[in-house]
């Protein structure tokens, strides 16, 4: 019996089909994998997908967090209330998405604005985590834009933490693997949108093809501008080649207002240098040194001790011994080992 391949999802709103469906996200759809240079060219190009988070529509209910926990079967610790709305206190290996709350006193309108941003992996087109990762195939990018962590290949080194411009990956304390939002790749694979988008009661989170999401965002931005948010705009940072999780922001000119969302994220030059030419140049330098040493060893004359050196040493030691014998000291004892 063959099961039909699931279609590519274009919305999070659709209900799942009754009949079982085969995965539509195949190993051959991987276009980039960490620490693997020569991937076979993919046979097909999936439609680029994206999740759009309209910050202006978010009511901070955390249904997305609950849906994420439920779908991914994670178990975040129950923490203490320390007087802020964030719960848990930060992204954790068990909490892939987090509502971050900012109280912003707008100096222009003198109004208090409550900015709520759903934080989580941005699924960069040019992912810093994937660039930094040393374990082959631990981080992959599918041709639909999803960046996924493959725990079976992950070694838990934490290089992805250094690579990410958004401070997203978290290393699991007991499983020793890196964790983050998967954009529900396992749901997308069977034609479903992400759990958070599905759960959002105000449709602040929507999901679809990237083009559609950009078009949808433009509509929303127009609406916001009409309502006085002149700087409203789309957050799809080009420094990382665009992202597959995008925001509609009322203050798109100042993304950092939203709980330090980077204004212009890009992969750090340090990470690029470390992971780029430095690797090959370093490896070449070590290789040349090793081969050079071996060649020199095989071809050049070794530095050998001559009979002359031995004789001189013999003489030096014998002379010194004679001198010592002439000037005896109390502590001195007869020394000659040989006649």
């Amino acid at each position: 019996m063959t099961t039909e391949r699931a279609p590519q999802p274009t919305t999070a709103a659709a209900n799942p089909p009754i009949q079982p469906m085969a995965s539509n996200l195949l190993p051959s759809d991987v276009v980039r994998a960490s620490a693997m240079r020569d991937l076979p060219a993919p046979e097909r190009q999936l439609t680029k997908v994206a999740k759009l988070i309209d910050v202006s529509r978010c009511i901070g209910c955390k249904a997305c967090q609950s849906a994420c926990i439920e779908w991914n079967d994670t178990h975040p610790d129950v923490e203490e209330n320390v007087g802020v709305y964030e719960n848990p206190h930060d992204l954790t290996p068990e909490m892939f998405t987090l509502m971050r709350f900012t109280e912003y006193a707008n100096p222009e309108t003198h109004e208090l604005e409550w900015l709520i941003r759903k934080d989580g992996c941005m699924h960069c087109e040019d992912p810093g985590c994937l660039t930094a990762c040393p374990a082959p195939g631990a981080i992959v990018q599918y041709s639909n834009g999803i960046v996924d962590f493959i725990s079976d290949n992950c070694i838990g080194c934490g290089y992805c933490v250094a690579g990410c411009p958004f401070d997203i990956p978290r290393i699991h304390k007991t499983a020793h693997v890196s964790k983050k939002c998967t954009l529900c790749s396992d749901r997308v694979a069977v034609g479903q949108g992400p759990a958070c988008a599905k759960a959002c009661p105000t449709q602040a989170i929507v999901f679809g093809t990237k083009d559609e999401m950009i078009a949808h965002a433009e509509m929303r931005i127009e609406d916001l501008k009409e309502r006085g948010y002149e700087k409203a705009g789309l957050y799809d940072p080009q420094g990382v080649g665009g992202t597959h999780v995008m925001y509609v922001l009322h203050h798109a000119d100042k993304p950092s207002l939203y709980a330090d969302l980077p204004d212009d994220p890009k992969i750090s030059a340090v990470v690029k240098g470390w992971k780029g030419a430095a690797k090959d140049v370093g490896l070449a330098a070590m290789g040349i040194a090793a081969v050079g040493a071996m060649a020199h060893g095989a071809l050049a004359r070794a530095n050998e001790v001559s009979a002359h050196d031995d004789a001189e040493a013999q003489e030096m030691v014998a002379h010194a011994a004679e001198r010592l014998a002439v000037e005896p000291q109390e502590a001195a004892r007869p020394q000659e080992g040989a006649p």
Partner: protein, 229 residues
């Protein structure tokens, strides 16, 4: 009432006189050296595996990627302390001396194997001193940056921007350390008669006369045992 040692370390002595053999490293120093050496080799192999994708297969030597990731920093700690013990035994005789400049200026003669025209040296020549201080500095840098990026035990020790610099510096230092390691091993092989100093602990009189004459001269002028040592 021991004579001052200027060019030699405690334990260095003329062992036999006919033929001349000279004790260069005591058993404890040799053990210390080989623990350091094997730990260093383990660190290089495991570090290389994480340094370049084409060498990732080396993780197989350690039981896979996660085990390598776990083991590498532990070996680093062992190396740090093992090297520290070596450092404490050797730093004094590795301080730069006037004759080092002359030796370096005539490095060509050294490479040609014609040491006759060079100044007499103590226990270490400028090349050995360079290896010593180079390794000392790099190991210090690597232990500091290594702890900064040790995800398992120090995940939040430094900020992410600092961590990025730490990984890069750690990798660069490692490349430099490997280069020094190659110089060290190769020089020991190329200069015949050197290896036995770290295996049996002794060198021949001719070797000592040829490469470290001041050291030999000092030992020859000493009574065999130092009561104070």
């Amino acid at each position: 009432m021991t004579e001052e040692r200027q060019y030699s370390a405690p334990g260095d002595e003329i062992e036999t006189r006919k033929p001349v053999t000279v004790s260069r490293y005591r058993g404890i120093t040799r053990l210390n050296h080989w623990v350091t050496a094997f730990t260093m080799i383990g660190l290089i192999l495991s570090g290389m595996a994480l340094f370049h994708p084409s060498l990732y297969f080396l993780t197989g030597l350690f039981g896979g990627g996660p085990t390598t990731r776990w083991l590498h920093p532990l070996m680093g700690i062992l190396l740090f302390f093992s090297f520290l013990l070596l450092f404490l035994q050797m730093w004094r005789l590795n301080l730069p001396k006037r004759e080092d400049a002359e030796w370096l200026a005539n490095i060509k003669e050294v490479v040609k194997g014609e040491e006759e025209n060079l100044p007499e040296l103590g226990k270490y020549n400028a090349g050995q001193k360079f290896v010593f201080w180079g390794m000392s500095g790099l190991i210090l840098v690597m232990i500091v940056t290594g702890v900064m990026i040790w995800e398992q035990y120090f995940p939040g020790l430094v900020s992410i921007p600092v961590r990025r610099v730490a990984v890069a510096v750690h990798a660069l230092s490692a490349v430099a350390a490997v280069l020094i390691f190659i110089v060290h091993v190769y020089a020991a092989i190329w200069t015949r008669g050197t290896i036995r100093a770290m295996t049996r602990g002794t060198v021949t009189g001719g070797w000592a006369y040829r490469h470290h004459r001041k050291w030999l001269r000092e030992l020859a002028g000493r009574r065999k045992t130092d009561p104070a040592e």
